[in-house]
């Protein structure tokens, strides 16, 4: 299973980041993605696999527009 929710990067230590999920802090390797403090990141099995953009709403709206009857 892949984590469906993004966490916030609160600290970076060497090759790992501390990532907060509503008060749960986990350590994740950052060798696969460039992250910085403040980013929202997707963590999969102890590694960050992607950062999250905040653009969903518009893009989806646009897509949906194209699909509407």
């Amino acid at each position: 299973m892949c984590v469906a929710i993004p966490g916030k990067v609160v600290e970076i230590r060497d090759n790992k980041a501390i990532i907060d999920f509503s008060g749960n802090q986990v350590e994740a390797y950052i060798g696969l993605v460039n992250v910085k403090v403040g980013d929202y990141a997707l963590v999969h099995a102890g590694c960050v696999i992607q950062t999250m953009k905040q653009t969903e709403a518009e893009e989806i709206a646009e897509l949906m527009g194209g699909l509407a009857e």
């Binding site: 460039n34 997707l42 897509l63």
Partner: protein, 347 residues
């Protein structure tokens, strides 16, 4: 369009029967958990595909893990689910009772510390997964080399999405559209499925894992089908970029190469997996040739279910001999397996 309107649309759909396959196990689990089937018209069917990494692992792989775990001074580290997958006769978890040394970890990277703290123990990570997880093993090996740890190996059963989907479509799976796995696309980019969409004239919708995200993507697929559109639409743009994750892809290609692997119940599919490149063979715990796939129970229909040709309830063993405490096939093991989720939420 409001989510309420979308749901209403899906609930009231009266067109020709539409069969959608989610190829990602996390999608299967989320669809169950959110009760999404209940929101769809009877004419929209959701079918679970071969996207649960645990469910598609052949018995020979599990048998080999057990063999390794029983070797002296060897510990097999793995994700939780895999402990319970039956091999040709037992699971890793059952073999612990026979002296197999197996340990559940949260992350493949956890074995770096274990291996460092216990230099006399050989750690083997059970490296299962798709494009999403494969780069993690690349990172693991990179770190093991950096830290000079010689007591780490992996046993791979890494799978790749496109060729198994092509296999399904070539083998008469009746599917009208695919929910493409959001996290695979986070690594590979959304276009990863473009060639398939084109070749088979079929639509793909990239979806996230939230309830609304899934509903939106399903709606998107239904609309594309109704409008006879093919191609890939990305309903998960906050995570999935067109190019994917270049760093991860680069690491994946550095350590691994495409290869032919066996899928539980389906046999070998060309180019449907990843294997360690020869240069890194010393990290391999004997992954080559693990193709045998002895069914624990011959009546198990996991293979057909993974191909969308049968539903769990079509299996004569379902909820009788086969249940999560006594799984006959891998589909009943993983929390993401079709049979498991069908069992868990059966009315």
């Amino acid at each position: 369009m409001e989510i309420k309107e979308i749901i209403e649309y899906l609930q009231n759909y009266q067109g020709p029967v539409i069969r959608l396959m989610e190829v990602c196990g996390s999608h299967t689990a989320a669809i169950s958990k959110f009760g999404i089937r209940d929101l769809l018209s009877d004419r929209i069917e959701l079918i679970s595909g071969p996207g649960c990494p645990v469910c598609v692992t052949p018995s020979a792989y599990v048998d080999r893990l057990i063999e390794l775990a029983k070797e002296p001074n060897t510990c097999v580290a793995t994700f939780g689910d895999l402990l319970r997958v039956p091999g040709s006769s037992k699971s890793l978890s059952e073999s612990k009772a026979d002296g197999a040394n197996a340990q559940m970890v949260y992350s493949p990277m956890d074995i770096l510390k274990l291996a460092k703290d216990n230099p006399m123990t050989n750690y083997v990570f059970a490296a299962v997964g798709f494009e999403t997880t494969a780069p993690l093993y690349a990172l693991l090996i990179e770190e093991a080399m950096k830290q000079n740890l010689s007591n780490i190996r992996i046993l791979t059963a890494l799978k790749s999405m496109p060729n198994v989907i092509a296999y399904l479509l070539r083998n008469e799976a009746q599917i009208d559209g695919f929910l493409a796995p959001g996290h695979v696309c986070a690594i590979t980019g959304a276009d990863y499925f473009g060639k398939l969409a084109e070749e088979f004239h079929i639509p793909f919708a990239v979806s996230g894992f939230g309830d609304e995200e899934l509903v939106v993507a399903i709606y998107g697929l239904v609309r594309m089908i109704e409008q006879k559109e093919t191609g890939v639409k990305n309903f998960y743009p906050s995570v999935v970029e067109s190019g994917g994750n270049a760093v991860a892809l680069d690491k994946l290609n550095t350590y691994f190469e495409p290869c032919t692997v066996a899928w539980r119940g389906m046999g070998e599919i060309e180019g449907s997996g990843f294997c360690l490149r020869k240069e890194y063979a010393q990290f391999d715990a004997g992954s080559i040739g693990l193709k045998e796939d002895k069914k624990k129970n011959h009546a198990c229909r996991c293979g057909e279910i993974l191909m969308g040709k049968a539903k769990p309830t079509d299996c004569p063993l379902f909820a009788r001999v086969c249940n999560p405490s006594n799984p006959q096939g891998a589909c009943m093991v993983s929390y993401e397996g079709s049979c498991f989720t069908a069992f868990q939420t059966k009315a």
